[in-house]
C-alpha cells in the first residue's frame, strides 16, 4: 500500500537540480509547495462564498468558459466552486478517518508487540483477515451497516485502513524492544512506562505521521468511491463522490466537464498527498535522510 516513488522521476526535480540543490533540499521544497497547495485548497473551500453555487437556471449546462472554468451543472451552479468545496469536504472526512485509523493501528500494533503471544496472534490474525478482504467491499458493508451518511463513511474508512500500518508499528516496536538501549534501560530498573515514553514513542511518531499522510490519500479515494456508489454521503452534501455520481447521468448527453474536471482534481489531490507522504518518509527515515 505504500508506493515508493523515485525522487528523480518527479517533474519538479529537474528544475530544482539545476538550481544546484541537493536531494534533501529538493524534497523539502517540493513538500512545502505541496503543503501550501493543499492548504490553499482547504482554505479556498472554507472561505469561498455559497453565492456561486446557488442555482442559476439561466446559466445551466454551460461548457467551460472564462467565467466558469469548470463549466456549470444542470442547475447553473459553478463547477469550480463545487469541486473545491467537495474536495475540502473529502479532505476533512479523509483526515478524521485517517486519524482514527492511525490511532487504531498504533494501539493494536503496540498491543501486539508488548502484550504477549496470545494478543499478538489475535492482532496478526485480524490484520490478515482485514487485508484479505478487498477494502471497498469491507467499506461498503460497514458503511451500509451504519446507515451511510458522514458517520458511516468515516467509521467505514477508519475501520478498513489500519491493518498495514498496524503491521509496521508492530514490527517497529518488536525491533525496538530488542535493541540494546531498551534492554539496558530495563536492566537499570526503568519502568515500562518510562521506556515506552522515552524510547519507543519517539521512534513511532515519524512512522505514524507518514502512515497518516499515506492513509489519507486512500481514505479520500475510498470516501469518494463509496459516495459515488451511493453508500456514502447524502446527495445534499457537496462531496466529490456526489459530484461524480451525479455527472454520470449527464455524460450520455455530452456534458463531459461535469465528470472530467472534478475527477481530474480528485486524482491530482490524491497524488499530491501520496508524494507528500513519500517525501515525509524520506525526510524522516534515517537511512534516506542524509543522502
Amino acid at each position: 500500500m505504500i508506493n515508493t516513488t523515485d525522487t528523480n522521476t518527479r517533474p519538479s526535480s529537474g528544475i530544482l537540480t539545476m538550481m544546484g540543490l541537493n536531494r534533501r533540499q529538493r524534497t523539502i521544497i517540493t513538500t512545502a509547495v505541496i503543503g501550501i497547495l493543499l492548504l490553499s485548497i482547504i482554505l479556498g473551500g472554507l472561505l469561498l462564498s455559497n453565492e456561486r453555487i446557488t442555482t442559476n437556471l439561466e446559466a445551466r449546462n454551460q461548457a467551460p468558459s472564462f467565467s466558469h472554468p469548470f463549466g456549470t451543472d444542470w442547475l447553473g451552479r459553478d463547477m469550480l466552486t463545487r469541486t473545491i468545496k467537495g474536495l475540502t469536504l473529502s479532505i476533512f472526512v479523509g483526515l478524521i478517518a485517517a486519524a482514527i485509523s492511525t490511532i487504531i493501528a498504533l494501539v493494536l500494533g503496540i498491543a501486539a508487540a508488548t502484550m504477549g503471544n496470545r494478543v499478538d496472534t489475535i492482532v496478526t490474525w485480524l490484520v490478515d483477515l482485514f487485508m484479505s478482504i478487498p477494502h471497498l467491499v469491507a467499506l461498503i458493508l460497514i458503511a451500509v451497516a451504519l446507515g451511510g451518511g458522514m458517520r458511516g463513511v468515516v467509521i467505514g474508512v477508519a475501520l478498513t485502513h489500519w491493518p498495514s500500518l498496524t503491521r509496521v508499528v508492530r514490527g517497529e516496536v518488536l525491533q525496538l524492544r530488542s535493541t540494546e538501549y531498551v534492554q539496558i534501560s530495563r536492566r537499570m530498573g526503568k519502568s515500562r512506562w518510562w521506556i515506552a515514553a522515552q524510547h519507543i514513542v519517539p521512534h513511532l511518531i515519524p512512522q505514524m505521521l507518514v502512515g497518516l499522510v499515506l492513509l489519507f490519500s486512500h481514505a479520500i479515494l475510498h470516501e469518494a468511491s463509496i459516495t459515488f456508489l451511493g453508500f456514502g454521503l447524502s446527495p445534499h452534501q457537496p462531496a466529490i463522490g456526489i459530484i461524480l455520481s451525479e455527472s454520470m447521468r449527464y455524460l450520455s448527453v455530452g456534458m463531459w466537464w461535469l465528470a472530467f474536471f472534478p475527477g481530474l482534481s480528485l486524482l491530482i489531490i490524491v497524488r499530491l498527498f501520496d508524494i507528500l507522504g513519500d517525501n515525509l518518509r524520506k525526510l524522516m527515515d534515517p537511512y534516506n535522510a542524509h543522502s
Binding site: L57, W74, L75, S234, H236, R249, S252, V253
Partner: protein
C-alpha cells in the same frame, strides 16, 4: 408513491441489467441480420414483435389482488370497467353497472363471452373471488369500504359498501380479474387472465415476455409478441440510441437529445411534484414517536408566500428542460380539478408584503426573517435517489431565499423520510386517476396515515365537501364537490385557501418511440413513469 429502493439490491440489479443489455445487443445484432435475410426471402418485412424498455419491474409480480395494474394496462388481466382516452368510465368486462339510490350497492353485469387464456370461462365467481382476495391481502388496494361482494347469478355481481363511496368506480376500473381456479401461490409469477396478452416468461430483474391472448374478447393487438426489458433509464437511452428497443422511457435530462430512428413523445401527466408543509405547530408525537408539526410552516403566511413567490414556469424550463407543466393542485387537468386554482406566481414582492403583514421581519439583518424570535427556516427533505426532486428542492430553496425564508434542502432515504415527514416539509410526488387520492391527502381522517396527509392538514369545510363527494351517486355530482373542496370561493385546500401544499410541476413523461410505431392517443398519465404508456397497447401498430 415511489417505491422505497434498497440501494444495495439496486446496484446488483444495475450490474445485472448492464450484462443483460450487452446480451440483448448481441442477440439483436445477430437477430436483425437473420430477420433481414428472412424478409428478403419471402418479402414479408412486417415485424410483429416489439421490444420495450419502459420502466421498472413490479416487485410483487403480476397479481392484481396485490396491486399489479394500478398504473397502465394489467396486460394479462382485464378489468370490469376502464377509462377511455378522455378519462370517461367505459365498460370492459362489464356490460353495464348500476348504483343503488343510497349509493351503497353497485351491481355489475358481465359479458358472457369472456374466457381466461387457459380457455376457462370468466364468471361472477371469479370476480367475487378477486375482490375477496384483494380485500384479504391488505395490499395497496384499499377495499376497507367494501362490506361484501356477492354473485347474483352467473354473470351478475353486486358490491355492497359500508358507506357510499363514489370513487369505488375507480377500483372497478383498475382491479384486474383473476381466475379462481388458477390463483395459486405462484400466480404473481405466472399470471393467467382474460387480458389482451398472455404470459410467456419472466426473468426477474431482466425481462418479461408476453404474447397475444387468442381468447381475448376485445380488439386483437397488432403485435404478437412483446418483450419488456427492465433497465435503468440511462441504459434504456443507450439502447434506444443503438436502435435495439422500440420504446424507451427516458428522464427529462435526455429529452433534448435527438436520436436517429426514434421520435420523442412527451406525454402529459398528473405525475406531479410539490412541497408538503406540516400544517400544525410542533409539539405532538405520532404513535411511533415521530415528531409532528413545524412552527414555521404552520404559519399560513409562510405557506402562501412560498406558493405565490415560486416561479413554476422557470422550474419547468430550468429543471425539467421544458418537459412539464406548472402544477397548482394534485389533480391538474382531471375531471375533478377546479381550474380556478391556477394562480399567477413568481410574485416575490407580494409575497414579501404577506410576510411583513404577518409579522415576519428581519430584525438581525442576517437575511432571514424572524417572528417572535423564531427564524423563518425549515428543512425540505427529498428522496436522495431522485435527481429531479433534488433539483426541484434546491432550485425552489434558492428561489425562496430572497424572501428571507431559509429552506434547507436535504436528501434522505425513504426510511428516514418516513420518520421526518410529519415535522418537515417533504418534496412528494402524487397523481392518480382516482379522486380518492385527494381525500387521502387532505382529509383530517387520514392525518398521519402512511404517506397520506403527513402535515396533519384539517379543515372542517374541506372535510365536509369531500365526504359529500364520496357520498355522491353520480360522477358529475361528486366532481362538483371535489372542486369545491379545492376552492369554493372562500376556503379550500388549494393555494387560494389554506395552502397546505405548494405544488410545483407536473412532469411530462418522455418516451423515445420508434419512428414507424404508432402508439395511438395517450390519456393524461398518472404517477409512475413507464407502465402507463401500456394503457393503449392494444391500439399500437406500424405506420403505413
Amino acid at each position: 408513491m415511489s417505491q422505497k429502493g434498497d440501494d444495495f439490491v439496486k446496484m446488483f440489479k444495475r450490474i445485472g441489467t448492464f450484462v443483460l443489455v450487452l446480451a440483448v445487443f448481441a442477440t439483436l445484432l445477430t437477430g436483425c441480420a437473420k430477420e433481414d435475410s428472412h424478409s428478403n426471402a419471402d418479402g414479408d418485412s412486417v415485424r410483429e414483435e416489439l421490444i420495450l424498455a419502459i420502466g421498472s419491474e413490479p416487485d410483487d409480480g403480476f397479481d392484481p389482488t396485490t396491486g399489479w395494474g394500478r398504473y397502465g394496462s394489467p396486460l394479462f388481466q382485464s378489468t370490469l370497467l376502464k377509462r377511455d382516452n378522455d378519462l370517461n368510465i367505459v365498460n370492459d368486462l362489464a356490460k353495464g353497472y348500476e348504483l343503488s339510490e343510497d349509493g351503497l350497492v353497485w351491481t355489475v353485469s358481465l359479458r358472457e363471452d369472456v374466457k381466461f387464456s387457459d380457455g376457462v370461462a370468466l364468471t361472477a365467481e371469479d370476480v367475487v373471488y378477486t375482490y375477496e382476495a384483494a380485500a384479504a391481502s391488505g395490499s395497496v388496494i384499499d377495499l376497507n369500504v367494501l362490506d361484501r361482494v356477492e354473485a347474483k347469478d352467473e354473470y351478475t355481481v353486486s358490491f355492497t359498501l359500508k358507506q357510499p363511496q363514489s370513487t369505488f368506480v375507480n377500483i372497478l376500473a383498475v382491479t384486474g380479474i383473476v381466475p379462481k381456479h388458477a390463483h395459486g401461490a405462484d400466480y404473481a409469477e405466472k399470471p393467467i387472465g382474460s387480458g389482451p396478452f398472455k404470459f410467456v416468461q419472466w426473468d426477474k430483474g431482466q425481462q418479461l415476455i408476453v404474447e397475444t391472448n387468442p381468447e381475448y374478447y376485445g380488439d386483437k393487438p397488432f403485435f404478437k409478441k412483446i418483450t419488456f426489458l427492465f433497465m435503468s433509464e440511462d441504459l434504456a437511452f443507450a439502447a434506444a440510441k443503438t436502435g435495439s428497443v422500440d420504446i424507451a422511457s427516458i428522464p427529462h435530462s435526455f429529452g433534448t437529445q435527438a436520436v436517429t430512428g426514434m421520435r420523442l413523445e412527451a406525454i402529459e401527466s398528473v405525475d406531479n411534484r410539490g412541497i408538503m408543509f406540516p400544517f400544525v405547530p410542533a409539539g405532538e408525537k405520532t404513535a411511533s414517536g415521530a415528531a409532528i408539526g413545524n412552527d414555521v410552516t404552520s404559519d399560513p403566511a409562510i405557506r402562501k408566500a412560498i406558493n405565490i413567490a415560486v416561479d413554476r414556469k422557470a422550474l419547468v424550463k430550468g429543471v425539467l428542460e421544458g418537459f412539464g407543466t406548472p402544477a397548482y393542485t394534485v389533480s391538474d387537468g382531471l375531471p375533478w380539478w377546479n381550474p380556478d386554482t391556477v394562480i399567477a406566481d413568481g410574485r416575490a414582492e407580494e409575497a414579501k408584503e404577506i410576510l411583513t403583514e404577518a409579522g415576519w421581519i428581519d430584525t438581525n439583518n442576517d437575511g432571514i426573517l424572524e417572528k417572535n424570535g423564531l427564524k423563518a427556516e425549515f428543512v425540505l427533505v427529498y428522496p436522495s435517489s431522485d435527481q429531479t426532486r433534488q433539483s426541484l428542492a434546491i432550485a425552489t430553496a434558492d428561489m425562496i431565499k430572497p424572501l428571507g425564508i431559509n429552506i434547507i434542502a436535504e436528501g434522505k432515504s425513504w426510511d428516514e423520510i418516513a420518520n421526518m415527514m410529519y415535522s418537515n416539509a417533504v418534496l412528494f410526488g402524487w397523481g392518480s386517476h382516482d379522486p380518492l387520492e385527494m381525500y387521502n391527502l387532505y382529509h383530517s381522517k387520514t392525518a398521519g396515515e402512511g404517506y397520506y396527509n403527513t402535515g396533519y392538514y384539517a379543515n372542517p369545510t374541506v372535510d365536509s365537501y369531500m365526504d359529500q363527494a364520496l357520498a355522491a351517486t353520480t360522477e358529475e355530482e361528486a366532481n362538483a364537490y371535489w372542486q369545491n373542496a379545492q376552492w369554493d370561493g372562500e376556503t379550500g385546500f388549494s393555494s387560494l385557501g389554506d395552502a397546505p401544499w405548494s405544488w410545483l410541476v407536473n412532469l411530462k413523461h418522455l418516451y423515445l418511440v420508434n419512428e414507424k410505431l404508432e402508439i395511438g392517443s395517450q390519456k393524461i398519465q398518472p404517477h409512475g413513469h413507464g407502465w402507463p404508456i401500456t394503457d393503449s397497447i392494444v391500439e399500437w401498430r406500424w405506420k403505413e
